[in-house]
């Protein structure tokens, strides 16, 4: 068994550094990854090799065969501390890039200052050759080709939204996989083929090809596990240390059973899970975990414990080894996308707590063990999501606070009482709603269902307001890019501005959704996911790839909204200075604002001094309530490919900093390019002056059920969670829950320490901060993003 410190020493951090803000460089000299990280071409190479051989066959079979080629030929290895095995790259320092999705951005990356160390000369040459094959065939190429001319200009990022391809998540149906093993799934697929052979439906060929692809994929996965079994056995033979020899034998034993057959022990279940999780990443670049880890693994642990097969310490060790695996996945992002993923590895979040489908509390020994693993290891990922509800035991709060106190930024707390009614409104059946899990920042999913969650992209709401103040015309170019809303000179009150804003939101949502519809159609055609389809509920049963149908609710489709508080405070400032105090007219204000307030600091200060959200003041808070709910209603008028409404989501990642650069000055007193409030419920930095209770009171005025799953960051000094004050902090959390605020998470760090870390990064290399729905090493963030975090209000003790 290894100590947490020893294990931490084994980690290769693959977190991405933000090297851009929009198109502008942001500390790009640092490089996009830490030293030693290499772009691993094995996936691209083996995928391309297979694709060249399968030209002309059905795409679903081609992708299954490509996956099989990968799993059969990938370089595999087991590191000396490992007992949970599997890598998606050929060595521990590798990161991979999904060349089949997009090759231009990776080419740009390795040829830029930020990414040139990722590949050597030979690698660069090989990458060029591989890219040549995918030219015109990658999903990004296909998308751009398919777009009608008038949509093309909206595909290009300009500051209002960053349409993105990457954020596709999903939680396999582990619960049932654990009952049948992959063998059960293969048998099911074979049986389905026989059934369609008898009925010959109109989509007979489609179904048969899909089911065959399922079988090819799953059989390849079983072979992949066997390769690890063989490797472990060979290593065991050579191993001289007796303990390690036994460990390797155990790895060999486990990998020859799972994932083909159902797991019987805790260790088998964890390894089973990790193979499936890993191969999701090999098949298709994805993010998140989402598994309800206590509910899923708890029964295995308890069974082992009863049988005397395991001790608590051994279970903790396995859990920590899994933690390390989850920490090491990593992904390649394009430099522009790095502006929204500052510090992210691959958004691994696991869920604990909450209720089962019948509403019973699920807390078990593993709930506490997961918190213990997190407390000891203190990693940026996996982040822990803790679901709280009326019957959550006090001990869970207590253990959670101990982890929060370490400063790692999690567990991030989710309020069942606020969120489940929201899911019901989205059309999620109650029993599924009660089983929700969180995969990334605040991405909500239902384990095992074909939710195939996709983020359409990042939607910069203050830019929509800015368009509303300019009738959709860019004053610099004269181009009509947004909706032609009414002339602000005719506005009679702030309500007219809100209306124009809603119109802009609807207009741009429509554009995004059009891009997305075409994209989804192309994905159905050219990028089926036979492996993923085989491990979620319903695809084999229907004989349909996961991309051909979808979980029936508006749960699966969302847009990450940023800057809602800025919009609210901007409209409040207009109400105050233009319509109430009549300091100047709205056109006059716009003119001053458009010059970035030059020479009119007096007006800017008047705007800054107008009431702000987060101080429990209805003057500002009720406008915030309307901005959120009416903005959401405007988004929901736009339907997706399956007829469900588009909707917002609070997973802002670092976009509140990264993308704010492309929004000029706005009426809340914000300067051109200045970062937005850091999350959907966050007050503007430094503008919440009445303390943390007032912040929660303000947040509670925003109806979750009328809006979306929000995100709220709060910053506290460490001493507030200590001894005497811990019960007070817990009572604060309970009040948060009672008030129906959907989410909260904490940065528990002394501001001075953050400032010191800017000066002495080496000394603070391990210091973790919560950025948005994820934690990151502070030193991996650009200076600007660091400042953005420092600027957040520190809730102090009075």
């Amino acid at each position: 068994m290894q100590t947490a410190k020893e294990l931490r020493g084994k980690i290769v951090s693959k977190a991405v550094r933000n090297v851009k803000r929009g198109y502008a460089d942001d500390d790009s000299k640092r490089g996009m990854y830490r030293k030693g990280i290499r772009l691993d071409l094995q996936r691209s190479r083996l995928m391309t090799e297979s694709f060249k051989e399968t030209d002309g066959q059905a795409m679903v079979l081609r992708r299954a065969k490509a996956l099989a080629n990968l799993l059969d030929k990938m370089g595999i290895f087991i590191r000396d501390h490992e007992r949970i095995v599997g890598y998606q790259t050929s060595d521990k320092n590798g990161i991979y890039h999904p060349i089949d999705q997009n090759w231009k951005s990776v080419l740009r990356l390795v040829n830029s200052k930020a990414g040139k160390s990722l590949l050597d000369k030979a690698g660069r040459k090989e990458l060029d050759e591989l890219c040549a094959y995918w030219k015109g065939k990658s999903m990004s190429d296909r998308h751009q080709e398919a777009l009608p001319d008038d949509l093309k200009k909206y595909w290009t990022y300009e500051g209002t939204f960053l349409w993105s391809q990457l954020s596709e998540l999903g939680i396999p149906d582990y619960e049932n996989l654990f009952k049948t093993g992959l063998k059960g799934r293969i048998d099911m697929a074979r049986k389905r083929i026989e059934e369609i052979d008898r009925t010959i439906p109109v989509d007979y060929v489609d179904q048969k090809e899909f089911l065959e692809a399922v079988i090819i994929s799953l059989e390849a996965v079983i072979r992949f596990a066997r390769r690890y079994a063989k490797l472990a056995e060979a290593m065991a033979k050579k191993e001289t240390k007796r303990d390690r020899k036994a460990e390797l034998r155990e790895v060999a034993r486990i990998c020859s059973i799972v994932p083909e057959l159902p797991p019987q022990t805790f260790a088998e279940a964890v390894q089973f899970f990790y193979f499936i999780h890993l191969i999701r990443y090999v098949e298709y670049s994805t993010l998140g975990v989402g598994v309800r880890i206590d509910q899923l693994f708890g029964p295995f642990y308890e069974k082992d414990l009863k049988a005397g097969r395991i001790t608590k310490e051994e279970a903790l060790d396995i859990l920590q080894l899994l933690w390390i695996k989850l920490n090491e996945l990593g992904l390649v992002y394009s430099p522009t996308v790095s502006s929204v993923y500052g510090g992210v590895a691959s958004l691994q979040a696991v869920t604990i707590g909450g209720t089962d489908e019948k509403g019973r509390d699920v807390t078990n020994d593993l709930t506490y063990l997961a918190l213990e693993a997190a407390k000891q290891l203190q990693l940026i990922e996996p982040s822990i999501v803790l679901r709280l509800h009326a019957k959550t035991p006090d001990k869970v709060y207590d253990s959670a606070v101990d982890v929060i106190k370490t400063g790692v930024g999690y567990p991030s707390l989710f309020n069942d009482e606020a969120l489940i009614p929201l899911y019901k409104r989205w059309g999620v059946p109650e029993k599924d709603a009660k089983n929700y899990a969180v995969t990334g920042c605040v991405y909500i999913e239902i384990p095992g269902k074909n939710v195939m969650r996709r983020s359409v992209g990042y939607f910069v709401l203050p830019k929509c307001l800015w368009w509303a103040l300019h009738q959709g015309v860019d004053p610099k170019t004269g181009e009509q890019r947004g909706a032609r809303t009414k002339d602000p000179a005719t506005f009679k009150s702030w309500k007219d501005l809100l209306k124009a804003y809603e119109e802009q939101v609807r207009f741009f949502t429509n554009k995004m959704e059009q891009l997305e519809r075409i994209n989804l159609e192309l994905y159905e055609k050219y990028c089926p996911r036979p492996f993923y389809s085989a491990v979620v509920e319903g695809c084999i049963e229907k004989g349909k790839d996961a991309r051909k149908w979808v979980y029936p609710s508006m749960l699966h489709h969302f847009t990450q909204v940023i800057g809602g508080t800025n919009v609210a405070d901007a409209i409040t400032a207009v109400r105050k200075v233009v319509f109430d105090d009549k300091l100047l007219t709205l056109p006059e204000l716009i003119k001053i604002m458009d010059k970035n307030w030059a020479g009119r600091e007096d007006i800017r200060q008047a705007c800054l001094n107008a009431p702000k959200f987060g101080n429990d003041d209805n003057y500002a808070d009720l406008i915030a309530r309307d901005v959120h709910s009416r903005g959401e209603a405007a988004m929901e008028t736009v339907k997706d490919r399956y007829g469900f409404s588009n909707r917002g989501d609070g997973s802002a990642v670092s976009a509140t900093y990264g993308l704010a650069i492309d929004t000029p000055a706005t009426p809340e007193g914000r300067l051109d390019g200045e970062p937005f409030a850091d999350s959907t419920l966050a007050p503007l930095p430094g503008k919440d002056r009445k303390g943390p209770t007032a912040v929660l009171n303000s947040c509670a005025k925003i109806s979750t059920v009328d809006t979306y799953n929000h995100l709220l960051n709060q910053k506290f000094l460490p001493k507030f969670l200590d001894d005497d004050l811990k019960p007070v902090f817990i009572s604060y959390l309970k009040t948060w829950k009672d008030m129906g605020v959907p989410h909260i998470q904490f940065n528990v760090v002394d501001k001075n320490k953050l400032v010191a870390a800017q000066t002495y990064p080496q000394k603070y290399a391990d210091m973790i901060v919560r950025v948005a729905g994820f934690s990151a090493y502070f030193v991996d963030l650009s200076r600007g993003l660091q400042d953005h975090i420092i600027a957040r209000t520190e809730q102090s003790l009075k």
């Binding site: 600091e601 007096d602 200060q605 008047a606 001094n609 429990d616 009445k690 303390g691 943390p692 209770t693 007032a694 009171n697 507030f720 005497d724 004050l725 019960p727 007070v728 009572s731 604060y732 309970k734 009040t735 009672d738 008030m739 809730q795 003790l797 009075k798």
Partner: protein, 300 residues
């Protein structure tokens, strides 16, 4: 309706009684403790606070001042001649940067209640409530009585933080509406007390004894190194506390918060040089009090 002069309503107070509280700070204090951390609370009338660090040197206050009390110098921004200033606060209205603010506001009981009830849910879950503090709350006892009555009517837990320096009748009238009395003790020696606070401690000690019979009392000890932090002195206090049935003692080590505030008030007289006791000493003192069977908290 009864009105009072309030200089701050501090929500999320966690050191002024049990749980999460809102502390209502009443303006004006008959004591003038050398170490006072809230010197802006001493005057009974609203006062002008000038925070130089926020001044942008725009000169709006110079134009606004009818007395010609404000001047602009290139070097130090604006300066205020406090002798000329008649507290009309027109400069405050003109200041864009919140560099000039008013400390102290006349409020009705209802206005205060409107703010304190907003955190009701936090009080409920934490066992918290409302604390009335100062300045010296007893100096505005009619208003405080009305406020505490109203809190009790609303079902809110109440605490009164006082120096105890007032006629007994005033304190007595409030006690039926106080759940916890937070009682400050500066020094047991009459001469030392008089020297550092300006007032005699006889009435304070008498009132404490009487109040302890009627109410739950927590003692609060501002600790200044070399002044009241000796083992002997704290032992005496601990014994006194025990004899009165005190449950809890809070140590409030001296901090320099008051120095900047004095500057904001334009008080440029002698600066009180003091230090908090060292951590070791505090632990020692904590031990003494705990041995007498009372709980101790440290710091604010």
């Amino acid at each position: 309706m009864e009105t009072g002069v309030v200089f701050n309503i501090q929500r999320f107070s966690v050191h002024d009684g049990p749980g999460i509280r809102t502390t209502v700070f009443m303006k004006g204090c008959p004591l003038s403790c050398l170490w006072c951390s809230n010197p802006e609370s001493q005057d009974f009338a609203p006062v002008l606070l000038a925070r130089d660090i926020l001044c942008q040197g725009c000169g709006a206050c110079v134009k606004a001042c009818p007395q010609g009390a404000v001047t602009l110098t290139r070097k130090s921004g604006r300066t205020i001649d406090r002798r000329k200033c008649d507290n009309c606060f027109q400069c405050v209205a003109a200041c864009l940067y919140q560099s000039l603010t008013i400390c102290g506001q006349t409020m009705t009981v209802q206005e205060v209640m409107d703010e304190v009830v907003q955190d009701r849910m936090f009080y409920k879950n934490s066992g918290g409530g409302v604390t009335v503090s100062g300045g010296e709350a007893l100096a505005q006892s009619r208003f405080v009585l009305a406020l505490l009555k109203q809190c009790q009517k609303e079902g809110l837990h109440t605490a009164l933080d006082t120096s105890g320096y007032a006629p007994w009748e005033k304190l007595k009238s409030l006690l039926p509406f106080v759940d916890v009395l937070l009682y400050d003790l500066k020094h047991l020696d009459p001469a030392e007390h008089k020297r550092t606070t300006g007032v005699d401690n006889a009435v304070i000690l008498e009132n404490l004894e009487k109040a302890a019979k009627r109410s739950e009392v927590w003692l609060r000890l501002p600790l200044v190194a070399g002044f009241n932090d000796s083992v002997g002195h704290v032992k005496k206090i601990a014994r006194l506390g025990k004899s009165l049935g005190v449950e809890k003692v809070s140590f409030l080590p001296y901090h320099e918060g008051g120095i900047a505030k004095k500057r904001h008030l334009g008080k440029t007289g002698d600066i009180f040089i003091a230090k908090a006791p060292g951590d070791k000493q505090i632990l020692k003192l904590k031990d003494i009090v705990e041995k007498e069977g009372m709980k101790v908290t440290v710091g604010n």
